[in-house]
């Protein structure tokens, strides 16, 4: 029944796939172009190792420890390879020959820990990355896809003679449309997350984990997109024209209102009134609950510093209310 909507979703996901492929290609180009700098560590090891004593031992936990000792100046590099858990590299380089190289080796977000003290460096590779955080970031793409799929009922209003002349209850038909679009939004999040991880892996394979907080972030990224989509449905399902304007204006309004709600306007009674109005509007604006911080941190972009479970409850309620309003309005439309 929702064949046309499925075609829309397919087209949207195809465009997204092309964009993501382009992003990945750009990442590949960047990776190749910084290859020299990225391989600095290897160069360093080779440089030391070329005239070094190399000893390798296997530790009780199964990891392999390799130690390079420079005979000339006593510099050592100890590499503890923990497989997928990454490497811990301890460098003792009194001459500090390769400081610049190390810096370059930090391209990408994954080599996050390094200590430098008296020529000693500690580098941990492959630090943990919660998948939930990746989904938090790509939730923006989910919002964009939700926008492009927005107003499925309003778009049908120009051709109700087709949409409503099918052997299916109108409510069920509308739910079909919602369902197909929801799958499209979920798929866009998954695609984006996968490409994000691939791009990271080009620089260094992240050590992926999924904590309970990360699971909530994944859920939040989905419900955020769905709430945004449902808001459009609620706003436009009765409209026969002007839908594009609503879709276009919703983004700036949706972003500005939470910003205004944060503005310190309480200095006067008028300011306080506006502050209150903006707070109320922001509370029903899904974009106010956008959450880009790391898992476990309460965001400030979401206005209220709410925990993830509360945000989920609010966004889920928005989905039900907005989509319900859209459905009720749509059933009242006449061809």
């Amino acid at each position: 029944m929702a064949y046309v909507e499925w075609l829309r979703v397919k087209k949207c996901l195809t465009i997204l796939a092309i964009v993501l492929a382009a992003i990945f290609l750009i990442a590949v180009v960047v990776r190749i172009s910084v290859n020299g700098a990225m391989s600095g560590m290897t160069d360093w090891q080779q440089e030391v190792g070329g005239d070094a004593i190399v000893s390798t031992t296997r530790l009780p936990d199964g990891s392999t420890r390799t130690t390079y000792t420079d005979r000339k100046d006593g510099s050592t590099v100890t590499v503890t390879d923990r497989g997928y858990d990454g490497k811990h590299i301890h460098i003792v380089d009194r001459h500090d020959r390769h400081r610049s190289t190390f810096k370059m080796a930090h391209v990408g977000p994954l080599l996050v820990e390094r200590g430098a003290k008296n020529g000693e460096y500690d580098i941990d590779t492959n630090n943990t990355l919660d998948i939930g955080f990746v989904f938090s970031i790509v939730s923006i793409i989910g919002l964009i896809v939700a926008t492009s799929l927005a107003a499925p009922l309003g778009r049908e209003n120009e051709r109700l003679e087709i949409a409503w002349a099918k052997p299916i209850d109108r409510t069920l038909y509308a739910l079909h449309l919602y369902g197909v679009d929801a799958v499209g939004i979920a798929a866009s999040l998954a695609m984006s997350a996968i490409v994000a991880l691939l791009c990271m892996a080009l620089f260094q394979l992240p050590h992926l984990i999924l904590t309970p907080g990360g699971v909530w972030r994944i859920v939040l990224s989905l419900v955020l997109g769905l709430a945004w989509y449902a808001m459009y449905a609620g706003l436009t399902s009765w409209m026969k024209r002007g839908i594009g304007a609503v879709i276009g204006l919703a983004w700036p309004v949706g972003l500005v209102v939470p910003g205004l709600a944060l503005a310190p306007l309480q200095g006067s009674s008028v300011g306080s009134a506006f502050h209150w109005i903006f707070q109320v509007i922001a509370a029903v604006d899904p974009l106010g609950y956008l959450h880009l911080t790391e898992v476990g941190e309460h965001g400030n972009i979401g206005l209220y510093g709410l925990d993830d479970v509360t945000k989920f409850a609010i966004l889920a309620a928005m989905i039900v209310v907005y989509a319900g309003i859209g459905l009720i309005e749509w059933r009242r439309v006449e061809a």
Binding site: Y3, V4, L7, A165, K166, P167, E334
Partner: protein, 302 residues
């Protein structure tokens, strides 16, 4: 037995009454022409019949059943304007129909658009008005429905394809399909429809079998001896329903005793007096157009 029953249908838009207490019985397997000038309420009637607009009052029944989602398996509708999805190809529209309707015959739809000269690979936005109409006609007829509701199904088509659509309508009726259609092409309605209804300002002005309506009335026409020949006397004649006068030419629409009226007209000095059968256009104009509306051609006497 009537397949489609419209009972006291009224549809208002604010203060405007689009359909006013319309009652129609459309027999099984018949071709029913719904006529009327623009704004007479034809499309509103169709929309109410299909539930696309909510009737203010009244009831529509198909085979004595109220309209329900399942009924649409048996109803095919061609709206007066294109409602195709611009970004879809014709073939994708057929696929949409195939998925929605159990009895949609994609092969037949393909053959039909082929006969209309429509390339199924084309997107709807690239089609001419006539091609869009042809596509919608193909989508409807490829379902072999029990009820066909066609609102201006030949709009934008060339005469050859108009004729093809008429043949489709007649063939479907032969199969037992009940067809209701509207058209501004009176000749098409006359050719295809067994029964007609004429709407005027939302109200039923005329309804009946085409042959009966034609038989009920005759035209008596003749050339008057002088242009200012007085015709006021005919205005009070109960046998005469309408008087049209253009220069010396007088046309009287008579409901009874045409021979006597022809004799009287001849006796008054008119030349070339003759009695002719009504056609559907005469019936239509008689029903919807007051004589004054054609004042540039016709001098009104009644």
């Amino acid at each position: 037995m009537s397949t489609i029953s419209i009972s006291h249908l009224t549809k208002t838009y604010g203060p405007f009454v689009a359909v006013d207490d319309l009652c129609l019985e459309i027999p099984t397997g018949s071709v029913f022409g719904l006529l009327g000038p623009n704004g007479a309420g034809k499309t509103s009637t169709f929309k109410c019949m299909l539930g696309l607009a909510n009737a203010t009052s009244g009831e529509i029944r198909y085979d004595n059943m109220k309209l329900a989602p399942a009924t649409f398996e048996r109803i095919a509708y061609v709206p007066e304007r294109s409602v195709l999805y611009d970004h879809l190809t014709v073939a994708e529209h057929f696929e949409m129909q195939r998925r929605a309707f159990a009895n949609f015959d994609s092969a037949r739809a393909g053959r039909l658009v082929g006969e209309f000269g429509v390339d199924p690979r084309k997107r709807a936005r690239a089609l001419s008005k006539g091609m869009k109409t042809a596509t919608m006609v193909a989508m409807a007829f490829a379902r072999t429905p029990d009820f066909l509701i066609l609102d201006e199904p030949t709009s934008g088509l060339d005469p050859v394809n108009q004729r093809a659509v008429l043949n489709l309508i007649i063939n479907e009726a032969t199969r037992g399909c009940t067809i209701v259609f509207s058209s501004h092409q009176i000749g098409q309605v006359e050719r295809a429809a067994e029964r007609i209804a004429i709407l005027q300002n939302g109200k039923l002005a005329v309804e009946g079998a085409v042959d009966d309506l034609k038989a009920d009335r005759k035209i008596v026409e003749g050339i008057l001896p002088v242009e200012d020949f007085p015709v006021d006397g005919y205005a009070s004649d109960k046998r005469i329903a309408r008087i049209d006068k253009q220069g010396r030419i007088l046309r009287l629409t008579v409901v009874a005793d045409p021979d006597a009226i022809a004799s009287e007209l001849g006796g008054a000095g008119a030349q070339g007096v003759r009695i002719v059968d009504l056609n559907l256009e005469d019936i239509f104009i008689g029903a919807v157009a007051p004589a004054a509306s054609t004042a540039d051609l016709v001098e009104t006497a009644k």
